[in-house]
Structure formats: structure tokens, C-alpha cells
């Protein structure tokens, strides 16, 4: 659909396009806000060792459960670990796992969606039945169940999220390719004697991949939430590694006396989700009306 519109729009205003695009990206408020929040979080994660005043795992029972002070900006937990340092290092773990976790389903889903949409027939039937099967379960329930079976740890998180997450990419890409493969430039590429692989990789995918990229932005949010949830349940990142989910879980017992232990990591999750969602929205606005 969009490709058709794009093609005709491109025909109508061939010259003004690049200028228009350049003019709009910084007027896109969600994009700017999202880029700022996400950018800051990534900076914090990357430079965690420089930002954190203490080793996130170093216990000091002499100062356990102290409130916020000049020494400990956000206080300490029951083992005397600096909450601020753990928060900063938690960003490192959760963001890294989130960004890596989105890659595998992206690649798998794009691949399966491409061959299903392009070749149709029995490949399409098999892939779409698999999609229907996975979609029948709620995302978090299936991820949690899979990690439970596979055992805790990063590897299990990646496997579980890939198994559950690829279906969305496959659906998006398949739909886009069903439309794109009827377009003249794909027909022209085929009439040039190019192999199916080449037609898909060089002519079809570059024209439809933006939709999957936009979706990936919101998918990262879902993945990070899944990771935090898993860690909260004790299925994700194994302690003592700092991670927001386990921090929320550990702080729960002290909610009435030391509310910041659970609340601050919770807010960090909310902020991350907000930043990435805004980024996704902004990107969608930027890419949708006139991809290229």
C-alpha cells in the first residue's frame, strides 16, 4: 500500500522531497524527546563505570538500608550495596539484553516473512500456521513459560523472545511483500533474470524493511519489560548482577520503610519505555508519509 503511494508521491514532487525531509525531522517533537531520553540512558549504560560511585555488587553490611545521603545518593539496600550504582549498572544489563534480544526475532521474522510473502504456496501456509500458533498465546505468558523450561540466564531470554517475537516481524514483512511483489519494479527485476534471492534482498526488502524497523522500536520496549519481569520473578538475570527487575523484587520487602529501593528502578523502567516509545512514534511519523 504505502509503496504505491510513495511511488506516486515521488513522481509528483521529485525535487522538493529531500529538502522537506531534512526540514521535518527536528520539528518532530516525539522523535526529539525520544532520542534525548534514549540517548541519555544509553550514555549512562555505556559509561556506567565512570558514573557509578561504588561497585554495584560490593556489600557493606555496616551501612545497610541507609536513606539517601551525600555518600549514597539513593541510599543502600539490605546488603549495603549502593542503590544508585546498581541502578546505573542495571541500565547497562537491561538495555544491552533488550537491544540484543530484539535482533534475533527481527532477523528470523524478516527472513520467514519474506519467503512466505514472496513465494506463497506451501511455504506461506506453513509459516502462517506457525504464526497463528504463537499468536494464540499472550506474549509475556509464553516468554515466561519458555524461560521457565529453558532455565534462567541471558541465553534463555534470547531464545524465548526469539521464539515468541518473530511472528510480528513475519506478519509485517509478509504483508508488505505481498503488495510489493506485484509492483512493476519487482516484475522488472524478475524480467532481468535475477535470482529470487537477489530480487528479495536487493529489490523487495529494502523497500519494505522500514516498517519492521519502526516496529522494532516498540518491540524493544516490550522486550525490556519482559526481561525486567523475568528478573523480578527470579527467572531472568541471575543475582547478584544488578538489574532493575531483581532490584524491584528485592526492595519489595522494605516498601514501607525504604520505598526508594523498589520505586526508583520501577521509574527507570517507565522512563526507558517512554523514551523508546517516543522514539518509535517519531520514527514512524518520519518514515511513513514518504519513506524515501
Amino acid at each position: 500500500m504505502t509503496d504505491v503511494i510513495v511511488a506516486s508521491a515521488g513522481a509528483a514532487v521529485p525535487v522538493e522531497r529531500p529538502a522537506q525531509r531534512r526540514a521535518t525531522w527536528y520539528r518532530n517533537a516525539p522523535l526529539i524527546a525520544g532520542m534525548t531520553i534514549t540517548g541519555l540512558l544509553i550514555l549512562v549504560a555505556v559509561f556506567a563505570p565512570l558514573i557509578a560511585p561504588y561497585d554495584p555488587n560490593k556489600q557493606n553490611l555496616a551501612v545497610s538500608l541507609v536513606g539517601p545521603s551525600a555518600q549514597h545518593l539513593l541510599g543502600t539496600d539490605q546488603l549495603g550495596r549502593d542503590t544508585f550504582s546498581r541502578l546505573v549498572f542495571g541500565a547497562r544489563v537491561d538495555l544491552r539484553v533488550g537491544f540484543i534480544a530484539v535482533l534475533f526475532p527481527f532477523v528470523l521474522g524478516t527472513f520467514l516473512g519474506s519467503i512466505a510473502g514472496y513465494f506463497g504456496g506451501w511455504i506461506d501456509i506453513i509459516v502462517m500456521r506457525l504464526v497463528d500458533t504463537v499468536v494464540a498465546f499472550p506474549f509475556y505468558v509464553l516468554v515466561i513459560a519458555l524461560v521457565f523450561v529453558l532455565g534462567t540466564g541471558e541465553r534463555s531470554i534470547y531464545i524465548a523472545i526469539t521464539i515468541v517475537g518473530w511472528v510480528s516481524y513475519a506478519r509485517i514483512i509478509r504483508g508488505e511483500i505481498l503488495v510489493a511483489k506485484q509492483l512493476d519494479y519487482v516484475l522488472a527485476a524478475q524480467s532481468g533474470g535475477l535470482s529470487s534471492r537477489r530480487v528479495i534482498m536487493r529489490h523487495v526488502l529494502p523497500n519494505v524493511i522500514t516498517q519492521a524497523i519502526v516496529y522494532a522500536m516498540s518491540d524493544i520496549v516490550q522486550d525490556i519489560l519482559a526481561i525486567v519481569t523475568l528478573s523480578y520473578l527470579g527467572l531472568g538475570i541471575a543475582p547478584p548482577t544488578a538489574d532493575w527487575g531483581s532490584m524491584i523484587a528485592a526492595g519489595q520487602d522494605f516498601l514501607t520503610t525504604h520505598w526508594q529501593l523498589s520505586t526508583i528502578p520501577g521509574l527507570a523502567v517507565v522512563l526507558t519505555g517512554l523514551g523508546l516509545s517516543l522514539l518509535g512514534d517519531g520514527l514512524a511519523d518520519l518514515l511513513r508519509p514518504g519513506q524515501r
Binding site: 509503496d3 510513495v6 511511488a7 506516486s8 515521488g10 513522481a11 521529485p14 525535487v15 522531497r17 506463497g120 506485484q182 509492483l183 512493476d184 519494479y185 516484475l187 522488472a188 527485476a189 524478475q190 524480467s191 532481468g192 533474470g193 535475477l194 535470482s195 537477489r198 536487493r202 529489490h203 529494502p206 523497500n207 519513506q291 524515501r292
Partner: protein, 333 residues
């Protein structure tokens, strides 16, 4: 001269919920090396389907149910997919109607032109780039060194069609199929593109199959012509003889409904009625419900193409009356 391309009894069938239809029925023609054949008819007469069937690029719901497409004696209908991929490009190429949509919007033009030679002729990246520049020069794109790095949306319609032609020519095919290559262009650009296409084909001895509904274009470009209606060929022969002495009422109707500036006519004479429903084609001659010459026989007996002279065929049994009528009310061509 021997025929480069021979299409024999080609039949394309579309199956869907309403049943099976033959959108191309018993179409046969041949094109000799270095010659151009026109395929004319109204929209929906099966011209484009015939081309796509020859390329093996029919839409999923359509398939070739009968017939052969022989290119140099090799049947393209039964050829395996890999063999077809080898033939498309170096043997048979296609130019599309809409230069706007027939180029990949996110790929640089130079790359698109170089892609065929790189795949089929095994050129390296830099050889491919050189080849692209050479082709862009040949099709008259100014400043190719710079333009090769532009994207299709930075080109005008005429320039894009030149790019399409460069792509079609890139692997030096023996045959180029043109699907209304000038319909989407301005008249002035149309003429440039036609001259370019015919000139380049004359240089390289490339044959053309030229699909269009524009009769003057056929007269300018082609040596032979086949007139299609409702998926069938109704008349064929040399361009001048078919247009000067049409032997089918449908051809006559087409000629009379086309505007003509050489000789101002009182008005165009449209063909009454509309093309038949492909799901329920009329019995006998497919054209008889719209035909001024139709008699009772026309509705009952099938009308196969028959040879009238050495070079001409017609599907009409009243071809003499069509000829007669042409003499009374001549159409200048």
C-alpha cells in the same frame, strides 16, 4: 530469415471463484530476427498477458494452459526456472509501461543498470559501473557520471524510460518485449523514445514485440502487426497492408476511432458496445455482437484465423466486405 520467436497456440487461463477464463486464446505469431511486431488492441484484450506469459511472469492466479513460446527453438513455457533466469536479460528483456513504478525507488540508477551485466556477464563492480555509464550515454542521458548516483525520483519520466531501455539493452538481448513503453509519456518525449528504441534495435539487430493501443506508433515502429481482441488475434499481416486494407471489421473500427491529423474527419466513429465478458464470451466470432457486418453465420460457427494471402491472416468470413467498406470510407494512415 528464420523466425527468432515463435508463439504457437498460446493459451493463458485464469482460475478463480467465478470459474476459469481464457484471457489469451490460441495466440500464434512469429517475429524474425531484427524485426518489430506490433500487438494492438483495446485495454483488456490480452496484450499484456501475452507478453507476461512469454516472460514467464504471469500473476499467480494465471497460468499457461496450452501452447509453446519458442525462442531460438527453445520452449520457454516448459523451461525450468533456472534456465528462464539465464535467458531473461541476455536473450529476452522487457520494457514496462510506467517508468515511474518500474524502477526500484531505493536503488541508485547506475546500480540498477549495472545489475544485469554483473549477474549475467560476470562483470566486476567497476566493470559494471563502466558498463552502466556506457549504456547511459547510448540512451542519451546527459552527464551520466553524475546521474548514475541519483535515485529514480530525481529523474523525469522520459529520462526514466531511457533508464528502463538501458536496463533492457544491458545484456544485449535478442528480443525486447515492450509493454506500451510510451503511453505514460508526453507526445514529444514519446517520439524521442521511439526513435531511440528503434535506432538502438536496428544497430544491434534486436527484435521487438511492441504492445500498444496507439496505432500510429505501430505504423512508425513495426513491420508486422497483429490485432488482438478478447484474447484472440483477429487479424495479422504487414503494417501497411493491414492499416491500408483491413480485412477485419474490428481493425477497421480501430482505425476509424483513432484521431488523425493528416486528414480532418467529420468525427471519430467509435465501435459500439463494449468488449465481451470474458466469463461468457459470445458464440462464434467474439466480435459479432459489435460488428456492423455480422450475419447469422457469425454467431454460430467458430472463426479460426485463416490465411488470405501469403502474409496475411484474418478471422473474419466477411473480410471482403470490410475491404469494400474501407474503399468507400477510406482511413488515411
Amino acid at each position: 530469415m528464420t523466425a527468432l520467436l515463435e508463439v504457437e497456440d498460446l493459451q493463458v487461463e485464469i482460475r478463480n471463484r467465478r470459474g476459469a477464463v481464457h484471457v489469451v486464446e490460441n495466440v500464434s505469431f512469429s517475429v524474425e530476427s531484427g524485426r518489430a511486431m506490433g500487438l494492438v488492441g483495446e485495454s483488456g484484450s490480452g496484450k499484456s498477458m501475452t507478453l507476461r506469459a512469454m516472460m514467464g511472469l504471469l500473476p499467480t492466479e494465471a497460468h499457461i494452459s496450452e501452447g509453446r513460446v519458442l525462442l531460438n527453438g527453445e520452449d520457454l513455457v516448459t523451461a525450468p526456472r533456472r534456465r528462464l533466469q539465464q535467458l531473461r536479460g541476455p536473450q529476452i528483456a522487457m520494457v514496462f509501461q510506467e517508468p515511474m513504478s518500474a524502477l526500484n525507488p531505493v536503488m541508485r540508477v547506475g546500480e540498477q543498470i549495472a545489475e544485469g551485466p554483473r549477474v549475467h556477464l560476470g562483470l566486476s563492480r567497476s566493470q559494471g559501473a563502466d558498463k552502466a555509464l556506457e549504456l547511459m550515454r547510448r540512451v542519451g542521458i546527459p552527464d551520466p557520471e553524475r546521474r548514475a548516483f541519483d535515485y529514480p525520483h530525481q529523474f523525469s519520466g522520459g529520462m526514466r524510460q531511457r533508464v528502463m531501455i538501458a536496463i533492457a539493452l544491458s545484456c544485449e538481448p535478442r528480443l525486447i518485449l515492450c509493454d506500451e513503453p510510451t503511453t505514460a509519456l508526453d507526445v514529444t518525449i514519446q517520439d524521442q523514445i521511439l526513435r531511440l528504441l528503434t535506432g538502438l534495435c536496428a544497430d544491434t539487430g534486436t527484435s521487438l514485440v511492441f504492445v500498444t493501443h496507439d496505432l500510429p506508433v505501430v505504423a512508425e515502429v513495426c513491420q508486422t502487426v497483429a490485432v488482438m481482441y478478447a484474447g484472440r488475434i483477429l487479424e495479422s499481416g504487414g503494417v501497411t497492408e493491414v492499416f491500408r486494407q483491413p480485412r477485419h471489421p474490428y481493425t477497421l473500427g480501430l482505425l476509424r476511432s483513432a484521431p488523425d491529423f493528416a486528414e480532418t474527419r467529420e468525427g471519430l466513429i467509435p465501435i459500439p458496445g463494449a468488449p465481451p465478458d470474458p466469463y461468457a464470451p459470445p458464440s462464434g466470432c467474439v466480435f459479432h455482437p459489435r460488428c456492423a457486418f455480422a450475419t447469422a453465420d457469425c454467431a454460430t460457427q467458430p472463426m479460426p484465423l485463416r490465411q488470405v494471402t501469403a502474409t496475411r491472416t484474418t478471422a473474419c468470413i466477411h473480410d471482403d466486405r470490410a475491404l469494400e467498406s474501407q474503399k468507400l470510407l477510406p482511413v488515411a494512415q
